[in-house]
Amino acid sequence: MAEKVGVYVCHCGSNIAGKVDVEDVAKWAGEKVKDVAVSRDYKFMCSSLGQKLVEDDIREQGLTRVVVAACSPHLHEKTFRRACSNAGLNPYLMEMTNIREHCSWVHKDRAAATEKARSLVSASIERVKFQEPLEPMFVDVNRATLVIGGGIAGLQATLELADAGYPVYLVERQPSIGGHMAQFDKTFPTLDCSACILTPKMSEVGQHENVTLLTYAELEEVSGSVGNFKVRIRQKARHVVFDDCTGCGICVEKCPRKVLDTEFEAGMGNRKAIYMPFPQAVPRVPVIDTESCIWFERQKCRACEKLCPTNAIDFDQEDEMIEIEVGNIIMATGWDAFDTRKIPQYGYGRLANVYTSLEFERLCNAAGPTNGKIVLRDGKTEPKSVAIVHCVGSRDERHNPYCSGICCMASLKLGHLVLEKTDAEVYSFYIDMRTNQKNYEEFYQRLLGEGMRFVRGKVAEVTDAARKPSEQGKLIVQCEDTLVGRQQRFPVDMVILMGAIEPQVDAREMGLKCGISCSMEGWYTERHPKLDPVATMTDGIFVAGACQGPKDIPASVAQGAAAAARVAGMITKGKVMIEPIVASIDEEGCSGCRICNNLCPYNAIEYDAEAKVSRVITALCKGCGTCVSACPAGAIRGAHFSDRQIFAEIQGALWDAWQPRGGASEEAEAVPVSAP
C-alpha cells in the first residue's frame, strides 16, 4: 500500500526563505513527488501553530509519514516527533530535512540553494517511506552524579546537588579542591577576599554527607549512557593513608626536601616533597610528590614516616582503580594559563621582573610567599612603577584569536591592589577596555579615579636595552599610544603580563572519554550557544565554568548551578528515554564468527557460547552502526538506518539524475530500491 506523506517546508523567518524559495519547494514536492499527500510551507514550523498543522493533517488526512524541512534535527527533531505522537503517529515515522544549516546558511545563490533544497527534501521523502515504527525505551536514572573538576564551577554544582539530597562524586586531579580561585587574593569587581568566599564552600563540600570527594584522582574511562554511566577513576597514590591521616601537618613541617611550587604558587614559592597545596586545602591530607621525595630518589630519609603520629605514611601505596556508577556527568575542568614565553619580545623568563598574572596574584596574596608584600624578584625592593600588559596571547591570530574576557577586569583589580599597597605608578596598556558585566564599568571608573594610567596600545616589546640614562636599569615598555598617534617608551620596574585563558591541554582527550566535542580552540561545545548553554550533544553530560569558554567567577557559578539544576531535573523525572536506534542480530544469519564482538566501541555485544551466536545488549548499544557494516554474514541490522532506508535516501537525493524532467512518476518504480 502506498504511504501518504506530508511535507512541511519551514521559512524560519528569513533564515531559510531568504535563500531558498520555500514556496517553490513545497509546491514542487506536492505536485511532482510520488506519494506526497500534503505539502505546505509555513513561516515558523516549530511554533505551536506550525505543529498543529502537522497534527491536524495526520488526523484529518490520514498521513502515514511526515517530512519536516527546516533546521537541524538537533534543535527540533523532538518537537516534531512529539507532534506526531500527539496525533497518534509513531514518532519514528517522521524525518527532518535540514535545509537551514545544510543549505540556506551556507549558500549564496538562491536558485542553486532552492535546487539543493529540493534534493534534500526528496531524499527525506524517499527515506521516510521505508522508516519503521519504533518504540522508545526508558531506563531508570541513577541518582548519583559525577562532577569532574573542583574549581568554583564544580564546587557549586556539587553543592547544589548534594544539598538537594543527591549523591555526588567529585573528582579533582590536584591534591586539593579550589581551582584557580584559591590562588587569588581579591576578586573583582567587589574586591571580596577570594579565600573568604571560597573556603566555606570548599569545607562544606569536604564535609557533606552526600559528597564523595576524590582528590588527586583522574578520570580513566566512561562507558554506558545517560542515566547509567559506568566510570573508572584512577586514585593516584598519595603515599598517605587517607583514613589514618589527621592532617596534623607534622610530616610537611619536618620533610627536609624543599622544591619550587610551580602549581599552586605559580613558581613564586616553595613547598615540601610531602605537601598540601595551601593551608586551607580540602581535604587536609598531604600527598608525597615522588618526583622530589628523597626516599623515591635514593632510598634515604623517611622522616615523615618516623614522625607521623598515626603511622599514616605508606611508601608502598599504589594507584588504585575505583569504579562508580552515575546517571549524569558534569565537566567543570576549567582553564589553563597561556605560556607567555611564546611571545619572546615581552621578555618573560629572560627579564626577571616580568611576571605572569598568576605569579602576581600569588605575590600580592596575603597568604602568598611574601605575605602580600609587592616586591621585585630580589625579594625586597618595592616597585615604583608597574606596567600591566593586556591581551597577551589573546585576540591574536598567532596564538588565540578570542578575547579572554576576564583579563581587562583582572588588570583593573591588580592595578587597584598595587595602588593600594604601594606608592607605585600603575599603567595599563590595553587595546579595548572590556567591562561588560554588572558593576564592571563602575570598577573601571573607580580605577580611573584612583589614578591608574591607561595607555591605548598593544605593547610592542619589553626590553632592558636603555636608550637614555633615565631608562638605565629599568624595564622599558615600548608601544604606540594610539590615542596620541606617537610611539612611546615607558621605563618601569615591574611588568605584569595578562596571559590568555586557554583550554586545559587535555581538554580534547577528556572530552573524547565522555563523548563530547570541543571547539577549534578546545572549549567544550554546548548543545546550543544561547538556549542550552550547559548541556552537550551527548545526553547526560553537562559542562560548567571556564572549560566551556573563558568566563569570570559569577558566570562560572551560574553555570555550575544551572548544570546541577538540569541534572536534578533528570533525577526527579526518574527515567530517561533512550532512542530505540539500536542494532539487532538475526540469530539465524549469525555464523558466530565474533568479529563484531571486539569491534563494538561500547562493548555492547556479548557472545552466547551455547547457542554460538552473538547478541546485542540493547541498553548499551548506541546505534553507531560499526557492527552492521562489519558483519560478514550481513546478519546485523541497524534500526532506523537500514540499508533500504539509506539507499532510498540516496536515490531521493539524486532524483534529477534518474528523473531528468523532474518529478517522480511511474518510472521511479523501475529503479530498484533494495538492499544489495
Binding site: 619572546p344 619580545q345 621578555g347 629572560r350 626590553t463 632592558d464 636595552a465 636608550r467
Partner: protein, 298 residues
C-alpha cells in the same frame, strides 16, 4: 652536499670578506658550492618600491637560472635571501602574478616552476644541514675567551625564514657556543640596523646603529657577528661617524660570522677576508685566543 650559490652584489665588492670566508669555510667543511651562472641583482628593496611585477620578474630570472643539478639555492645576504624566497612564495600563491611573470621570463627565453628551488639562508644551511657534529669535529681553534655578540638583523629572521624565532633568534648563538665562544645574549640582536636609511637620512640611521653598538658594548662584546652585508656596512663603516655624531667612542669590530667560524676551523685570517673591516678585528681576536693555532689548518 651540493648547493647553488647566489652571492649577491654586495659580496662582489663592499663585502668581499663575506664571500671569501663563505667559500673558504665551506671548502673546509667539504661542501660543494656552485655559483649561479650569470646571476643578476635581486633589486634589494628598491624594485618592490616601484613596480612589484618588475621586482618579481627580475628575481625570478635568478630562480630560473638554477640548473637541473641543483634544487637548493643558498644566499648569504639578507635582502637577497628574502627576495628570492618571497618571490618563490608569491609565484606559488598568486596565480595572476605568476602568469605575468611567466610571460616576462619567456621574453628572455626562460621559465620557472614555483617551488622547484628551495631558497636557503647560509646560516640555516650550516646549522641544519651540516650541523653541530660535523662542525665541531673540524674545530681546531676553539673560540674560548672571546665574547661574541651575534647580530641577526631583520630580513633573515623575518618574516619568512622558518628556521629560527623572528623575535629572539638563537641559531647563531648556538653555533658559536659549539665553537667555544662566550655568546653575549643581548636584547637587540634582531633589531634593525637602519638598512638604506644611512643613504637617505643619516641622523635617524645613526640612532638605530648607536642602539645596537651601545647594547653590544654594555654586554662587553669583543666582536659583533653579522650575517648580512648591509648590517656589517652600517655598523662598521659608519661607526666612526656615529661616534662623531653622538660623542661616543665605540670601537667594536664587526665581522661576518663566517669569518670567525673560519678562524675556529683553523683557516688563516687572510684567507677569510680579515683586514677589510674599518674597525680592525684581528688584534682582539688574536689577543683573546691562544694565537698560536689561529690559521693552523692552512
Amino acid at each position: 652536499m651540493k648547493y647553488a650559490y647566489y652571492p649577491g652584489c654586495s659580496l662582489e665588492a663592499g663585502s668581499a670578506a663575506y664571500d671569501k670566508s663563505v667559500r673558504a669555510v665551506l671548502e673546509q667543511l667539504g661542501v660543494e658550492l656552485d655559483e649561479l651562472d650569470d646571476w643578476n641583482c635581486c633589486g634589494a628593496t628598491e624594485y618592490f618600491s616601484q613596480n612589484e611585477l618588475v621586482a618579481t620578474s627580475v628575481i625570478a630570472r635568478n630562480l630560473a637560472l638554477v640548473d637541473g643539478e641543483h634544487d637548493q639555492l643558498v644566499a648569504p645576504c639578507a635582502a637577497c635571501f628574502l627576495n628570492l624566497k618571497k618571490t618563490d612564495k608569491l609565484l606559488s600563491e598568486q596565480p595572476v602574478m605568476k602568469g605575468k611573470v611567466d610571460e616576462a621570463l619567456a621574453a628572455g627565453g626562460l621559465s620557472y616552476r614555483p617551488g622547484r628551488v628551495r631558497v636557503r639562508h647560509l646560516l640555516d644551511m650550516l646549522y641544519t644541514d651540516i650541523g653541530q657534529e660535523a662542525i665541531r669535529a673540524k674545530v681546531v681553534q676553539p673560540l674560548n675567551g672571546l665574547r661574541v655578540a651575534p647580530y641577526y638583523g631583520c630580513q633573515i629572521v623575518r618574516p619568512l625564514n622558518g628556521f629560527d624565532n623572528p623575535e629572539y633568534p638563537m641559531k647563531m648563538d648556538e653555533m658559536f657556543e659549539w665553537l667555544g665562544a662566550e655568546v653575549v645574549d643581548y636584547p637587540v640582536k634582531a633589531h634593525c640596523c637602519g638598512g638604506h636609511m644611512t643613504q637617505i637620512s643619516e641622523p635617524e640611521a645613526f640612532e638605530l646603529i648607536r642602539r645596537l653598538l651601545q647594547s653590544a658594548d654594555e654586554y662587553q662584546a669583543d666582536v659583533i657577528l653579522c650575517m648580512c652585508p648591509m648590517c656589517q656596512l652600517n655598523l662598521d663603516a659608519y661607526q666612526g661617524r656615529v661616534n662623531g655624531h653622538f660623542g661616543t667612542s665605540f670601537k667594536l669590530p664587526i665581522v661576518f660570522f663566517t669569518q670567525l667560524l673560519g678562524v675556529a676551523l683553523g683557516i688563516e685570517m687572510k684567507k677569510l677576508g680579515f683586514g677589510k673591516e674599518l674597525v680592525s678585528a684581528e688584534p682582539v681576536i688574536r689577543s683573546k685566543l691562544d694565537g698560536s693555532s689561529v690559521g693552523a689548518a692552512t
